[in-house]
Structure formats: structure tokens, C-alpha cells
């Protein structure tokens, strides 16, 4: 069931640009990325876009399709009415490099600031023992494919350029959460989360959760529990004093 479609694709760079229409065939079952590849191969060899796995596992091909932030490799063409152009624009939170490619280096820079994983010692038999039930939550966070769609829709940075230095964003909160809730980790990042990563700026509108292609419950399972932990350490004087003395988290906390 091949059909002719119009792809309305943003072409341009930091200096400016415009949407351009490409009339192209979409074959049965195809996703937006397939059709963009056909545009590339037949009409616009220099159309800039990122992709790798084409199976929703690498998080390279993020874009805004008809205004919705999505992976182009997992967005079927049959979602859209055939007689209207499919509009493909780059993620708008990040500086444009060219066409659909944006400068996402902000995320890589923020990642460098996350204090590392520091495991407790192994068991006497040389293993680490963990129950599956105790790692289910962290494994959910490890599903993150770093597509940065959550960063893209978060209004704290989407609408406020000035917050980019002070706010780590949903992707990094997932990263903090996976470390904080890791059964083996002994590092404590809670002070930092509030003071430097800007956790308090999130007002839990859940936009990040809605766009996550991995269906990670970012707000409910990562951000809100982090907020609770930060409240514990910052505002309870007895807990605070206890922490100062013991300098490490007790296993029972987890």
C-alpha cells in the first residue's frame, strides 16, 4: 500500500532556515525515518539527520513530528492522515547545527558533573548479592536510551535558556536516581542535587514522562523520590546530624 506523501522538513542552520516540502513515496509499514532516508537518497543528499539502530534502542533520531517529540525510527507513517504534510522539525531546546541535527553537548557536559558510582565491598565469596526485587526500580532507569526527548520538552530549560547551567534536567535526574537507589552505591549526592543540579526547579508537570519512548516513569519513580530524599537530608536536623556522624547511608534506607 504505497502512497505519495509530503514531508515538510526543516532545512537550515544556526543562521536561519525554512520548512521545505518533499513529495515522496511511503511504503507499507514504514516509519518516518524510512521516508526521510528516501528523501535523502533521491532528492536532498545533504539532508542532515542522526540515526543508528533504527529499532528504538540507541536514541539518536529524536525530532519533533507534527509538533510531538518522538523517535523518527519508531513513528509509523500510518499515524498521520495521508493527505496532509508530515512536519518534521529538529528538537527546539538545543542549538541547531543543521536541518534535523542539534547540538546536544549540554547533556554530555552535565553528565560529567555527576559524582561517580562507588560500590561497597564484595561479599567474602567474591560476589555481590542483590535480589531482583531490589534492582527492578534501578533497572527501569537503566533503560534510558539518552534520546534527550525529556530534556527537550522540559519547560524549565525549553523556555528558559538561563536555567541550562543550573538545572540538570530529567535525563540527569534519572541518572542521579539510578545511583542513589543502586543497592551497592555508597556515595551521597543529595546536597548536590538540590544545590547544583536544580532538583527544586522541577514542578512535576510530567511532560518528560509523557514523551519517554522507554516508558520510564521519570517523575513518579525518579524525581519525586529524589525530592523526598533531599527533603530528608536538608530539613530534618536529627537525620542531618546522624548523617554527619556516620558519613554513609545505612542499608535499611534503600
Amino acid at each position: 500500500m504505497a502512497a505519495n506523501v509530503v514531508m515538510r522538513v526543516w532545512r537550515g542552520d544556526a543562521g536561519g532556515g525554512e520548512f521545505r516540502d518533499y513529495e515522496v513515496v511511503a511504503e507499507e509499514g514504514e516509519v518516518v525515518l524510512d521516508v526521510l532516508h528516501r528523501v535523502q537518497a533521491s532528492q536532498a543528499g545533504d539532508l542532515a539527520l542522526r540515526w543508528n539502530c533504527k529499532a528504538g534502542r540507541c536514541g539518536s533520531c529524536s525530532a519533533e513530528i507534527n509538533g510531538l517529540p518522538r523517535l523518527t525510527c519508531m513513528t509509523r507513517m500510518n499515524l498521520f492522515p495521508q493527505d496532509e504534510p508530515v512536519i518534521v522539525a529538529p528538537m527546539s531546546t538545543f542549538p541547531l547545527i543543521r536541518d534535523l541535527v542539534t547540538d546536544v553537548s549540554l547533556n554530555y557536559e552535565t553528565a560529567k558533573k555527576v559524582p561517580p558510582f562507588v560500590p561497597r565491598p564484595r561479599e567474602p565469596d567474591g560476589t555481590y548479592r542483590m535480589q531482583q526485587a531490589d534492582i527492578d526500580r534501578v533497572q527501569e532507569f537503566h533503560r534510558c536510551i539518552e534520546c534527550f526527548l525529556c530534556q527537550n520538552v522540559c519547560h524549565v530549560i525549553r523556555d528558559h535558556e538561563e536555567n541550562k547551567d543550573a538545572f540538570a534536567g530529567p535525563r540527569m535526574f534519572i541518572r542521579y536516581a539510578e545511583l542513589e537507589m543502586h543497592p551497592l552505591d555508597t556515595n551521597d549526592r543529595r546536597e548536590l542535587l538540590q544545590a547544583r543540579a536544580g532538583l527544586g526547579m522541577c514542578n512535576i508537570t510530567k511532560c518528560c514522562t509523557e514523551v519517554c519512548p522507554e516508558r520510564i516513569r521519570i517523575t513518579d519513580n525518579a524525581i519525586i523520590p529524589l525530592k523526598e530524599r533531599v527533603v530528608d537530608v536538608r530539613y530534618d536536623p536529627i537525620v542531618w546530624l546522624g548523617r554527619k556522624i556516620r558519613r554513609r547511608k545505612s542499608a535499611g534506607q534503600r
Binding site: A48, R50, R57, M74, T127, Y128, Q131
Partner: protein
């Protein structure tokens, strides 16, 4: 004047998948100033697509497992053509590398007593694959990525290396370009580690991403290093076949490891008809026996879990003989044996992939699958201990290195290979770079000439489209240098490759140098074509059928050819092929192979 930026390091690692990351982490830990250069963003390399797991004889599920059994399985899976010492090192060191990942934060699925859970896979006697559902590669690459970031390793993302630079017979550095700006970069380095993966993009139906254009194989070849086993290209038995958009996308062997079975259009479990002599004693003869094997290891393993070369060939035959599914595949069914909770917990990626891309609910209905080009066994000839190539200063690890997997790789042995030999390559490269010898010098006029050549497609008077040439190449390799090969077709493929190479010289690209995929592809055609020719030439040279190489005109295995590697090297611009003896295997290890 030079139109490039220059950076100096002790060790430059090309590629940032599992092998590249592990090599860079090790080189850096040894004190070498280390850079990693990768074509995509960090964390997007093909390792992220690995699904089923990391093979390592941890013996968590079957206490009787140990490195000797893993070694045996690997050698037999490779049809006894693997470098025995690499297979031994791999089997011995894989468990430590897995435990190390855990120490760096990786969270594998657990056994009931809290240790790392292991799953069954093809060709492995025991459940051996440490895994995280069906997204093990993601866990591995992210863990290594965080570790590398912590170590402060400098990463040149979206930067493609186009040539190695040499100084009097040893490595002096590498030349590349930044995809974002189109600007060129010269890396001065005493040691270079190739970790560039394979060449799946030479084929039409492939599980590989755009990056897989044989870069490392070609870089090594052009620099004068030896390649071995280039005839062995693995076709994974189970790729998606429908709709056309997803043709080739990987369906993990974990589906079969976790209980899935293959059936043809007649409903037959056809694998029972394709059990080779070599595996007969350890393989189930009846469906009842095969079904029992999931819980009882005293009986034979289901033939659905024969090594990949056997299963891919069987599926190919079923389809050819008209017993395939409507869209040209066979059926893979896990819904019959497992309930939906089990399937979505163990194979969540497969579940969503089929539901979203093919409208198939794998908890209720079978998948349609068929062979897809997946992995390159052949690669840079390396020393088993150090991963040093035949060119001083050049090292190779992971898929781009040859020898470890022989004629066919077992599933799960790739991720462990990346870790084991990535670590060794990083250590050796750092040691080599730290030797008190004079630093090699980059020949600047050579670099400037290479830059001029790379910019040719903007000025060329020709009209060839790089995308069209790649499609034609994929068609040629798929049909004539694919799963089944003949002298006639291989010879035709040479002629076709010569024409394609000539056409590639007339490629013209539009636009400018900033993030221009057409230009990037035009440059990727060089390694693609060079490596494709190596594959076809080596396939012609090996006049037998063994592992992934099936010659219709030489259907039998030739014991004499089982004693040699086909070596490919470039001399004076021409490919030279020789047959060279395998290193002799010590008696005590040989004895392990015969034990069934």
C-alpha cells in the same frame, strides 16, 4: 597551508563501542594520554543494539560450567578455525570482565540467591549469558560510558577517521574529519587501537547501522597490516522480515534460548532435519527430548539452538524450498511455551519492537524471521596476547579483529570478546606508547594530499549519487557474496565491484561541508568497496564449506583447509591472498575439543 587541526595523544582509540570504550578505559588507567574517536555520539555505537547477553562461565546457574567448556564450545562453534589462544584467553578472562562491569555499576538480572543470572544461547552447553532482559548491550555501553567519562578520557564525537598515518613502517597517527563542521583533524599518536566494528552495510538485509562500513578493516589494509578470515560473514538466523521497513532488524537468539522454537509453513520443527554430524551427539533427536532439555541437561539440546551458521543455512533452505512464511521467512514461536508475563519480563524489547513496528503480539502469535547480515568474523590479524597487528603501533579489538571466532561466532561471545580483548588492547597500546623510542612523525604533505582527495566529491564533474552506489553494492554483495556462494557468482561480483569502484570515483555531492550525510557516505564508500573486495576474494580462495562460508560448488569441508587461515594484504596497490597455517593447538586443549 594545512586545512586541519592537530591533536597529540599517546593512544588514539578509533571507535567507542564496547571494545573501544574498554580499551580507552584501560589505556587511560595505565597512564597513557588517551583519546577516543567515534563516528556517532557517545553511547550510540552498535554495541547498544546487542540484546541477548555476555557469555562467561560464571557457573551461577550450572555449577558444572567452567572456562574449559566455554573454550570447547567456542572452538567447535568456530569449526575449529579459531585462534586457540584467543579462545582460551577469552574463556578464562570473560568472568572477571563481567564482574568488573558489575563493580562499575551494571545491574544484571539476578538468580534466586542474588547472583548474576545466566541464559541459554546457541552452541553453549550451559546457560552462560549474563544479561539484562534483552537490552544487555545498552547496560554494557552505558556502564563503560560512565566509567570513561569519570576517567576524563577525551572523546571526539561525530568524527570519522579516513586514513592511518605511518612513519617508516610504524603508526604515527590518523586523519579524520568532524562530521559537524566538515573540518579535518590530524591525530598524532604512538599507538592506535582500531575498535570500529564490522561491515554489515555492504549488505542489503542487515542488522547493522550506517556506521558499519568496514572502516577499521580498510584502514588496516591500506596501512599494510594483514587481515584474516575475511570470507566469514555471519548471517544471524533471525532478523525481522516484515514489513519491508524493518527487514533485517535483529531478533535476539534469546527468544530461542528462553524457549522459542522455529517452524516452517507446514508447522514442522524443521531444525531436526539439519543436525550436522559434529553436533549430533549433543543435540536432541526428537521434539520430546528437546522440550525436556529446558529443565534437564542430561538430554540433548534443542536443535533450535545449534550455532548460528547452521540455523541460518537451514532457514535459508526452508525458504528456498517453498516452506517459508508468506513474507519470505519462517516462524519463531515463543507464545506456545511461555506465558505473556514471562515473555514481557524476559524479552521486553522484542515485545515492543514487534508490536510497534510489525503489529505482531509475540505473546499471542509467532514472529516471522529470516537471516540478516550481522557480524564479521574476519578482521585484522592480531597477536593473541597483545592484540597487536602486524603493523607496529597498530592494535585491534572486538569485531574488527580476526581470529577469535574462526568460521562462525557463537551468540554471546561478542560482548565478552569486546571486554576481554578491549582491555588487553588498551593495556598493550599504552605499554607500546610508553616505550622510550623516538616519537613518530606525521608526514604533513601526505595529510594535506589526503584532505584534498576527501574534498573531491564536492568538485567532481561526475554525476554519480553515493546513495545509489551504496544500494547497488548492497544488492551485489547480498545476491553474489551472501549466505550461499559459487565461483561463478563470486567472479561476477569482482567485475561488479570493479565497476562500482570506478563509479565511486565519479561521485558528486551537493551542498557544503557542514553535517552533510551525502558527503559522509561518499567517503564511506571507499572502505565499503575495499572490504567487500576482500570478502569476495577470500570467499573464492576458500574452496570448501565451513562455518559461515557455504560454497555450493564445494559443499564439503576440506580437512586441509581446516589447517589454514586465508590472509589478505595489500601490496603495491594490489590485494595479495595467501593460505597460512593456523597456530598449532596444544594437546591438552585439543583433548577438550573431543570431549562431548
Amino acid at each position: 597551508m594545512a586545512d586541519y587541526e592537530t591533536h597529540s595523544f599517546d593512544v588514539v582509540v578509533v571507535g567507542a563501542g564496547g571494545a573501544g570504550l574498554r580499551a580507552a578505559i584501560e589505556a587511560s588507567a595505565q597512564g597513557a594520554r588517551t583519546a577516543m574517536v567515534c563516528k556517532s555520539l557517545l553511547g550510540k555505537a552498535h554495541t547498544v543494539m546487542a540484546e541477548g547477553g555476555i557469555a562467561a562461565a560464571l557457573a551461577n546457574v550450572y555449577p558444572e560450567d567452567n572456562w574449559r567448556v566455554h573454550f570447547r564450545d567456542t572452538m567447535r562453534g568456530g569449526k575449529l578455525l579459531s585462534n586457540w589462544r584467543m579462545a582460551q584467553i577469552h574463556a578464562q578472562e570473560a568472568p572477571d570482565r563481567v564482574l568488573e562491569l558489575e563493580e562499575w555499576g551494571a545491574l544484571f538480572d539476578r538468580t534466586a540467591d542474588g547472583r548474576i543470572l545466566q541464559r541459554d544461547f546457541g552452541g553453549h552447553r550451559y546457560a552462560r549469558l549474563a544479561h539484562v532482559g534483552d537490552r544487555t548491550g545498552l547496560e554494557m555501553i552505558r556502564t563503560l560510558q560512565h566509567r570513561a567519562v569519570q576517567a576524563g578520557i577525551e572523546v571526539f564525537m561525530e568524527c570519522t577517521i579516513t586514513r592511518l598515518l605511518a612513519d617508516g613502517g610504524r603508526i604515527a597517527g590518523a586523519l579524520g574529519y568532524r562530521r559537524e563542521s566538515g573540518r579535518f583533524v590530524v591525530f598524532r599518536a604512538s599507538a592506535v587501537v582500531l575498535a570500529t566494528g564490522g561491515v554489515g552495510k555492504a549488505y542489503k538485509v542487515t542488522s547493522n547501522s550506517w556506521e558499519y562500513t568496514g572502516d577499521g578493516h580498510a584502514l588496516a589494509l591500506w596501512a599494510g597490516a594483514d587481515l584474516i578470515d575475511m570470507e566469514f560473514v555471519q548471517f544471524h538466523p533471525t532478523g525481522m522480515v516484515w514489513p519491508p521497513s524493518v527487514r533485517g532488524i535483529l531478533v535476539t537468539e534469546g527468544v530461542r534460548g528462553d524457549g522459542g522454537v522455529l517452524r516452517n509453513a507446514l508447522g514442522e520443527r524443521f531444525m531436526f532435519r539439519y543436525i550436522p554430524e559434529m553436533f549430533r551427539a549433543e543435540t536432541a533427536e526428537t521434539e520430546e527430548e528437546a522440550d525436556r532439555w529446558y529443565t534437564d541437561r542430561s538430554v540433548g539440546r534443542t536443535p533450535d539452538l545449534l550455532p548460528r551458521d547452521e540455523v541460518a543455512r537451514a532457514i535459508n533452505t526452508e525458504i528456498k524450498e517453498d516452506r517459508g512464511s508468506p513474507h519470505g521467512g519462517v516462524y519463531l514461536d515463543i507464545a506456545t511455551r511461555r506465558d505473556s508475563g514471562y515473555i514481557t519480563r524476559r524479552l521486553p524489547g522484542m515485545y515492543h519492537q514487534f508490536l510497534e513496528l510489525a503489529d505482531v503480539d509475540i505473546t499471542k502469535e509467532p514472529m516471522e524471521v529470516g537471516p540478516t547480515c550481522h557480524y564479521m568474523m574476519g578482521g585484522v590479524r592480531v597477536d593473541a596476547e597483545t592484540q597487536a597487528s602486524t603493523l607496529p603501533g597498530l592494535f585491534a579489538a572486538g569485531e574488527v579483529a580476526g581470529g577469535m571466532h574462526g568460521a562462525n561466532r557463537l551468540g554471546g561471545n561478542s560482548l565478552s570478546d569486546l571486554l576481554v580483548f578491549g582491555q588487553r588492547a588498551g593495556r598493550s597500546a599504552a605499554e607500546y606508547a610508553g616505550r622510550p623510542t623516538a616519537h613518530p612523525v606525521v608526514n604533513t604533505s601526505e595529510a594535506e594530499e589526503l584532505v584534498r582527495e576527501a574534498l573531491q566529491p564536492f568538485e567532481a564533474t561526475g554525476s554519480e549519487n553515493p546513495y545509489t552506489i551504496q544500494q547497488d553494492l548492497q544488492e551485489c554483495m547480498q545476491t553474489m557474496v551472501g549466505i550461499i556462494r559459487t565461483e561463478d557468482e563470486l567472479t561476477k561480483a569482482f567485475d561488479e565491484l570493479a565497476v562500482l569502484t570506478e563509479r565511486a570515483g565519479r561521485v558528486r555531492v551537493e551542498g557544503h561541508r557542514q553535517y552533510n550525510p551525502g558527503w559522509h557516505l561518499a567517503l564511506d564508500l571507499d572502505p565499503l568497496l575495499a572490504v567487500s573486495e576482500c570478502i569476495a576474494r577470500a570467499a573464492l580462495e576458500r574452496t570448501e564449506s565451513r562455518g559461515a562460508q557455504t560454497r555450493e560448488d564445494y559443499p564439503d569441508t576440506d580437512p586441509e583447509l581446516g589447517k589454514v587461515n586465508v590472509v589478505v594484504r595489500q601490496r603495491k596497490g594490489e590485494l595479495v591472498l595467501t593460505r597460512e597455517p593456523l597456530p598449532p593447538i596444544p594437546d591438552e586443549l585439543l583433548a577438550l575439543l573431543e570431549d562431548v
